[in-house]
């Protein structure tokens, strides 16, 4: 009789590699079958998820293009610098020889911005930057300059989109779930109807709502007109830079609210009925029951719902691609839309990858916040 350790030492290499140290030798079929059965899925995940993910980081430090005769070169942080550079700059009004302000038709006159941002040796840090926005501060003009004006706009839009849609969609979904969380006749019919848009493609929904939002014959204008007895002035919802992004938010919430309603419902089911009964005996009203029984029981669901919506919202693409292509006046540019514009349409994979990395850093931060909020306090 030889010991297990000796038997293991005498076993073939593959057994020693694949079999757990503390497993008996007769389980060697487990070890090889285990690897073989997991392998196809692992290879696919490695080639199409892990490697592209790692490549995003590597490629973002190069000038790689999709198809190029020249090999890619390392460019360090240049892609990120261009995408993320933001500077404020103060323009002072022009003065004449005596030092008095020069007026041009009643208003102050300022030097041209490009005098500072184009090859001006005195301002090397401003070279190549462009105006993002500006405002008057006293006699001076404060200008925000950005290395990539369109990307900065896309980043801000996407963050606004996510920040608005998470509480909006999550809150509406909770209201719907509360409304449905009671054993009434036909309640399943309503649940099925509220959920239906979730199975409809976002491409279809976006095209459909393009018609609903139309400025001339749009259905939304018609309905608002009927409700307000004709006093509502038609709006070109997607053609107006102030309404385009909010319109997109409303539509996205309409499409996905049923999804999160179902998750809230699942969370509501986990709250024991006895807690409500006890609260009722203590004289709690409907609102108090919600405040002291329902809401504390939904805490983890709440974090999950908000995080899932936020992460999905950061991936905003289809709506932009189908409805506005980033317009009007870049009011609906989004991070992923820009990544596709540059990585695919302009074949600048490196810049697309840099944008992907920035997106991942944001999503990762959000996921870590979720970890922190749902951590076990004990």
């Amino acid at each position: 009789m030889i010991s297990a350790a000796t038997a293991r030492k005498n076993a073939p290499l593959w057994v020693r590699l694949l079999l757990p140290r503390d497993a008996p030798l007769y389980q060697r079929n487990d070890a090889i079958m285990g690897w073989l059965m997991a392998l196809p899925a692992l290879v696919i995940l490695a080639v199409f998820l892990v490697i592209p993910f790692l490549m995003a980081f590597v490629v973002s430090f190069t000038n790689q293009r999709l198809i190029s005769p020249n090999p890619a070169e390392w460019v360090g942080l240049r892609n990120f610098e261009r995408l993320l550079t933001i500077r404020t700059f103060t323009l002072e009004p022009e003065r004449d020889e005596s030092g008095a302000y020069v007026y041009d038709g009643g208003s102050l006159s300022y030097p041209r911005l490009r005098n500072f941002t184009r090859n001006n040796p005195d301002y090397p840090e401003l070279d190549g930057l462009r105006e993002f926005t500006s405002w008057q501060s006293g006699d001076n003009r404060t200008v925000i300059l950005a290395g990539d004006v369109v990307f900065l706009r896309a980043l801000i839009n996407t963050l606004i989109f996510a920040a608005v849609i998470a509480p909006l969609q999550g809150g509406l979904a909770l209201l719907l779930a509360l409304l449905l969380n009671q054993a009434l006749p036909f309640i399943n019919v309503f649940r099925a109807i509220y959920f239906a848009p979730v199975v409809v493609s976002m491409v279809v929904v976006s095209l459909l709502w393009r018609f609903i939002y139309d400025g001339n014959n749009g259905l939304l204008n018609t309905i608002l007109g009927i409700i307000s007895f004709g006093s509502f002035q038609p709006v070109d919802w997607l053609g107006n830079p102030y309404t385009a992004l909010p319109a997109m938010m409303a539509m996205s919430a309409w499409q996905a609210v049923g999804f999160h309603m179902v998750i809230w419902l699942a969370g509501l089911q986990t709250i024991p009925v006895s807690l409500y009964e006890a609260a009722g005996l203590d004289g709690a009203g409907a609102f108090q029951k919600f405040r002291y029984v329902t809401w504390p029981g939904l805490r983890n669901t709440a974090v999950l719902v908000l995080i899932v919506i936020t992460i999905q919202a950061m991936g905003l693409f289809v709506q932009v691609d189908v409805m506005t292509r980033g317009g009007p006046l870049d009011a609906t540019q989004s991070v992923v839309f820009q990544a596709v514009q540059r990585g695919y349409h302009k074949q600048d994979i490196a810049e697309g990858a840099a944008i992907s990395v920035i997106l991942f850093v944001i999503v990762f931060t959000i996921a870590m916040v979720q970890r922190y909020l749902t951590r076990d306090k004990s």
Partner: protein
């Protein structure tokens, strides 16, 4: 308060509740109803009707002409076949690959299992949008054995639409969770009876994996049938284009709204019918996938 007035009050609250439920249902139904009704109307009438509630009614000059015209303008059947083909293959393959991997994680002992499993769970937070661009570079350089021997580059093919999606960490995790909760005796008893590992997988475990199989299949079906970003970037030729990308034909040319509505109805109604038939399974799938956190 008398018993009667209490009852009246309850009844009033209940009717208000139903009124609210119906009003909200209208908000979810109207756009879809509008889509279907508009698909039956000529463009001029469609535009005129949308200025009133006639938009939701099948009135006026009703016909299937838009459907016929849409068929004439784009090869819808070709697109539908492409989508059905890539979806069916992906759903089938993803059930096989994901369940095999999950079976291995749940029941077999091998070295490195714990590390690999936690890596898979870690990939949950990588959205597809993050890897899409570098993936383009990868598929552009992958080899494939074609009719002329080994070719480099997967762009513009069926396999580029299928293979990247036949395994996914959520699918593996859902199967794994389900297998883990099965009683150990099931596998142990089969082992004692001398069943091979492959037999345990095909004869014992998969036959009772129905519910989770439906969940994984439904989630994959929705992702593949609605695929847009990836085929948009990888497919150039019309013969390989899936149905959602085919919609682009309509918003590049002069917009013919009646035909668009017909096309939208055609790609949506089958999914809606499928959904309504399997409503409970669909909703439970989503609830299961949502609680993965």
């Amino acid at each position: 308060m008398t018993a009667m007035s209490y009852e009246t009050r309850e009844r009033l609250i209940l009717s208000l509740r139903y009124a609210l439920l119906i009003l909200i249902a209208a908000i979810f139904i109207f756009p879809i109803l509008f889509m279907v009704m508009s698909s039956l109307k000529p463009d001029l009438q469609l535009l005129r009707d949308s200025a009133s509630l006639r938009a939701f009614l099948p009135v006026g000059d009703i016909s299937l002409n838009n459907y016929a015209d849409a068929f004439e303008r784009v090869p819808i059947l070709r697109f539908a076949f492409n989508s059905a083909f890539t979806t069916a293959v992906s759903v089938g393959a993803s059930i096989l690959l994901n369940s095999m991997a999950a079976f291995s994680f749940a029941f077999l002992q091998w070295r490195g299992k714990a590390v690999v499993l936690s890596l898979i769970i870690a990939t949950f937070i990588v959205p597809f949008e993050v890897v899409a661009i570098p993936m383009l570079l990868i598929v552009n350089n992958l080899p494939w054995i074609g009719p002329q021997g080994i070719e480099i580059g997967w762009l513009n093919s069926y396999h580029v639409q299928i293979i990247p999606f036949i395994a996914d960490s959520l699918g593996i995790f859902l199967f794994y969770q389900y297998f883990r909760d099965l009683p150990d005796e099931l596998v142990e008893a089969a082992r004692i009876d001398g069943a091979s590992i492959w037999q345990i997988y095909t004869r014992i475990i998969m036959p009772i994996a129905g519910p989770i199989l439906a969940t994984v299949a439904i989630l994959k079906f929705l992702v593949m049938w609605n695929a847009y970003l990836w085929p948009l970037m990888t497919i150039r030729s019309e013969e390989l284009r899936p149905i959602m990308v085919g919609l682009q034909y309509f918003f590049q040319l002069n917009i013919a709204w009646g035909e668009i509505m017909a096309y939208l109805s055609m790609v949506t109604i089958p999914v809606l019918i499928f959904y309504l038939a399997l409503q409970r399974a669909f909703i439970e799938s989503i609830a299961t996938s949502g609680i993965k956190g």
